[in-house]
């Protein structure tokens, strides 16, 4: 193994046996009878859970009682690299983490790790409600692999970070759940391994505490430590990791620079997409007056795309068919971010059609959202059409399409050369000017 490598994963596969089928009985009596009649069968059944010897990846695919959670995964991670692992549920992320943390062994293949490793698949493992905060810090710390002396040295820092100083000698069962999480995370944040493996532990705590944790984690990365970070929170991955591995169906689908991998991920992800069509007009949203035919998001290059660069404009297209002539239409869309906060709403203000009765036919309303307006993250478009006089809502589709705004951090965006977390729903690039006037300061002094 090369000296500059921290982790080397070679052809790792993992299979789980799920093949214990329960026999179905339609009454309690029948199932009791079954239990009485078949102790030997039960023995064989539960015993089989332990036997993997006959399994090989190549022949296992067609067996119904096993699941290959990982298949032939290989990658290398250099010292000091901060690598993200993403993928939909069931892609094998957790299994990979468990194998790297020595919790479960691979079925085949091997892993070589150089350096002291700590893994955080959960915060507060081993916390006992009857013990005080102080005792739990020690217990949890040693469970995570720290030495008693090490914890003693960092104890004040840990308590300070958690913000529960006042209650440190109170049993943890009297803590609020937030306090518990903060204390647990404070212990975890003070681990000093050479390699740190983190599952989505950040999905806990309030926004402010999450931010504190993200910053702490960023520190860890910057101190030359190797970090493996598994998360669904894409902005966090973008911010922390320079490289990302996308798992799909237990295999490495892409491995490369984070923003490229996230593009691939969002393009293959199921769920809301950048384009939606309704081919059968009878099934389409709307009523007898107007129906929606399609909605799409186009990136600056004119192609339909789930990902757009933060500094580039994008186009929203709403296609609809007017089925009754003579209505005055009002076409608009809502923009929601991931947290469900409405970023803005925009009306079709094309003077050619405002307050004019429309003839029958198909229309496409297009609107351009400028670059350097939306913040990083995922957005959902909700197109709506009303007819005026009287005002009647004809259709409205929540989250019809979605797109992802990505900050490639090339220095041209609003963030400049900053790499930290920038709050806010919008991120406009504003014009700034600073005047320097030494004379006036001098005058004021007198």
């Amino acid at each position: 193994m090369n000296n500059d490598l921290a982790i080397k994963v070679e052809n790792v596969s993992k299979c789980y046996r799920i093949g214990v089928k329960e026999n179905m009985h339609d009454s309690l009596g029948a199932s009791l009878l079954h239990f009485l009649k078949n102790p030997l069968q039960n023995y064989r059944k539960y015993r089989s859970l332990y036997q993997f010897d006959d399994l090989r990846p190549e022949q296992g695919e067609d067996r119904t009682d096993v699941i290959w959670a990982l298949g032939d995964v290989s990658f290398e991670i250099k010292k000091g690299e901060v690598v993200g692992i993403i993928g939909i549920n069931g892609a094998g992320k957790s299994t990979l983490l468990k194998i790297l943390s020595k919790i479960t062994p691979p079925t085949s293949g091997s892993i070589t790790i150089r350096g002291r490793i700590s893994s955080l698949l959960e915060v507060g493992t081993g916390f006992h409600p009857e013990l005080t905060g102080r005792e739990n810090v020690y217990l949890n710390g040693t469970i995570l692999g720290m030495r008693k002396k090490e914890i003693e040295r960092k104890f004040d820092e840990i308590v300070d970070f958690s913000g529960v100083e006042k209650f440190i000698d109170t049993p943890v069962k009297r803590y609020s759940s937030g306090m518990k999480v903060r204390l647990a995370f404070a212990v975890a944040a003070h681990l000093e391994p050479e390699i740190l493996i983190i599952d989505e532990v950040l999905a806990v705590g309030d926004a402010q505490f999450q931010k504190k944790c993200l910053n702490k984690m960023k520190d860890v990365g910057e101190h030359g430590r190797t970090v493996l970070f598994v998360s669904h929170i894409l902005p966090a991955v973008t911010r922390l990791c320079s490289r990302t591995i996308l798992l799909n169906g237990g295999r490495v689908q892409v491995d490369g620079p984070t923003h490229e991998v996230i593009c691939v991920y969002l393009n293959t992800e199921t769920g809301a997409q950048a384009e939606r069509r309704w081919v059968d007009l009878k099934e389409a949203p709307g009523d007898e007056a107007v129906r929606l035919c399609g909605v799409r998001v186009r990136a600056n290059d004119g192609y339909v795309s789930e990902t757009v660069d933060i500094s580039e404009p994008l186009q929203i297209e709403i296609e609809y068919e007017v089925l009754q002539p003579g209505h005055d239409l009002r076409v608009y869309f809502h923009v929601f971010n991931e947290e469900g906060i409405e970023a803005f709403l925009s009306f079709d203000n094309d003077s050619a059609w405002v307050k004019r009765p429309r003839p029958l036919g198909r229309y496409v309303s297009k609107s351009v959202i400028p670059g350097n307006l939306l913040s990083e993250g995922r957005y959902f478009i909700g197109p709506t059409i009303r007819t005026e006089n009287p005002s009647i809502k004809r259709l409205g589709v929540n989250d019809a399409v979605a797109f992802h705004v990505i900050d490639s951090m090339d220095g041209n965006g609003a963030r400049g050369d900053s790499t930290g977390n920038i709050p806010g729903v919008v991120r406009p690039l504003l014009k700034w000017e600073t005047q320097f006037n030494p004379k006036e300061a001098h005058v004021e002094k007198n």
Binding site: Y50, F52, I143
Partner: protein, 282 residues
Amino acid sequence: MDNRYGTTSSGNSITVIPPKSGWTMTGFQELKDYRDLFYFLVWRDIKTLYAQTILGFMWAILQPLVQIVIFTIIFGNVAKLSTDGIPYLLFSSVALIPWTYISLATVQSSQSLIQGSSMLGKIYFPRLIFPITPVLAKLVDFGISMFIIVCIMLYYRVSPTWNLFFFPLFLIMMVSIPLGIGTWLSTLAIRFRDVRQAMPLFIQMLMFSAPIVYSASSIPEQYRFLYSLNPIVGVIEGFRACLLGFPIPWLYVWPGMVTAALLVISGTVYFKRMERIIVDVI
């Protein structure tokens, strides 16, 4: 820098995670590296056992004490079992204190993996810590309840003899019983939950298989070797001899010592063989 996971002792430890392999006996160094964790887990077990109780550690004395009194009344005064001339109170307390330790530690050690299953799936540390922790934690209760024996000995004016020299030997033998059974049963309990159902029966059988309420001398001589294969027999006979100053009945002791040693060795080997796949089956 600690070398928790490694096989080399330089600053840069290297861990190799191979696919599961059957028989491994490595990793005892690892247990030593985790001694701080042992300390805090044992501390947790002790502290939480009596948390929010009025009597606290008094329970460690009260439980065996009540049992001793009941046994003395029923077996000593009502059933009038033979005790080779020892007052029944003295006879039963010297046996019941180690027996209480053995039974409690065995039950808890056997259930340790199932009880710790949530932790098993979230973090790695040497799995042997699970069954060993209750074996150590219960020693504290044992130590406290030894106070009863001392009081009863003072009451009957039994003075210590040179036999006490052998006492540590029987302590080790006593600890090895729950350790051996616990490593076996905790692993088996993962695969077959029958273990938990059978546990009370098993403990009850163990109790009557040992000379706790009756005297070992009431067993016919031709069965003595078979009888003494049970290590609990040796522990209790040893305790009686050491504390009350009888000659140590080695004939009752050494077969049990061999069994106890075999139990610990085989249990550890079986545990090490199974420990890596435990989490997939639990």
